[in-house]
């Protein structure tokens, strides 16, 4: 699936994560800002990448500002951002959830 518009989900508050998706041309490109990037950077990207894969998104620029979010929070924000970016907010893909 193609990203239709830039979309954002999440906040910058403690224990949350803000994910922004925009159109890309070169696979999934990550830009991650996190205090725990060294320890959890790979895991955070993997969680978001899994969500994008489930939606069939192959090209996207992903900006993540992590404030110590737990895995399920990251997943929830990734799903919200993806649904918004694909303009399918009204038609949740239950198989992904």
């Amino acid at each position: 699936m193609e990203i239709k518009k830039t979309a954002i989900a999440g906040t910058l508050e403690s224990s949350d994560v803000q994910i922004m998706l925009s159109q890309g041309t070169d696979g999934i490109q990550f830009d991650l800002e996190s205090d725990v990037e060294k320890q959890y950077g790979k895991a955070i990207k993997a969680t978001v990448a899994d969500v994008l894969k489930a939606y069939g998104v192959e090209n996207a620029n992903v900006k993540i500002v992590d404030k110590g979010a737990l895995d399920m929070v990251i997943k929830a924000r990734a799903i919200a951002a993806t649904q918004r970016a694909l303009d399918i907010v009204d038609e949740p893909m239950w198989e992904v959830l």
Binding site: Q18, S22, K63
Partner: protein
Amino acid sequence: MSDHIQDLHLRSKPQRRMWQNFLTERGIDVFNDTEIDVIDETIGLLDDHDQLVGTGSIAGDVIKYIAVQNEEGASGSRFNMVVSELVSRLAQRGVFHILVFTKPKYTDSFEHVGFTKLADSDQGVLLEKGEPNIQTYLADIPKVPAGKEIAGIVMNANPFTLGHRYLVETAARENDFVYVFVVNQDASLFKTSERVELVKAGTQDLENVIVVNGGSYMVSYATFPAYFISSPDAVIDYQTTLDARLFKNWIAKDLHIQTRYLGSEPYSHTTDLYNQALQRELPPEVQVKIIPRKELGSGDAISATSVRKAIEEDRISEIENRVPETTYQFIVSHKFELQDRIKKGKKDGD
């Protein structure tokens, strides 16, 4: 603690007073109309006792007047709440690219919430966040072969005159390629899209000229927010230095621009200060060449200001020898619309 966000209405006197006191206590004490009038919305962060403990404002794609009162043991949380709320409000408006102009000491705080520094001076720093950013902007500009002599010109072209044409021609003759950046600002009499089209039309015969919209990165430096700088003299220095460094460190570097061409400025003191800042900041990486203004005989330098005045006073025929044919045709066919815009007061900029 349960801080909550609330809209602040600066037109309400008590709220304005509370907001202004809060900022003044935190070292922000410039509240002139140019800074305040452009604000679209302002939020306040209130604590349990409904005391103001944080604030931030949105003006177009710029966030400003951000200040928080930190609590013990949770230094960044209120700052993050305010920025977070501003980012999501902008996202709801469809704005995903955000600029912030602030004091250099707050650079870290903004970088921590995903901002990237674009340029700084002693007085202030410019950061951005989101998409499209400066890399995507630069990637969209046509590139020329390496090893060529490349020049750059930044102009408002409000509208494109024979004076501008002379500057572009000179640069085009002396270089292999010339980038002409048209300042992106819709406070001018001619809209950005019209100005870009007129520059394109007026330089179509010059094959080595590439006309580009200045995007978010070549705006009028005078619009750089300066609410955090108290001294008026420092403001112009900060604005021009930031603009010059942004051009040098990003635009010229990426596009391999070696020379920036400027028109001499006999009339405007601030533009003269701007030219001085460019001469101070750009070399040695980027040379600065100042080209004397083209004159219409008798010491009458061509300026876009005089063209706008002639439109206003309905002396259209006097414009003909000051602008290229393409600009003239546009003015003739849009005369009433332009005069209407002037009447509505949209006429500043040069």
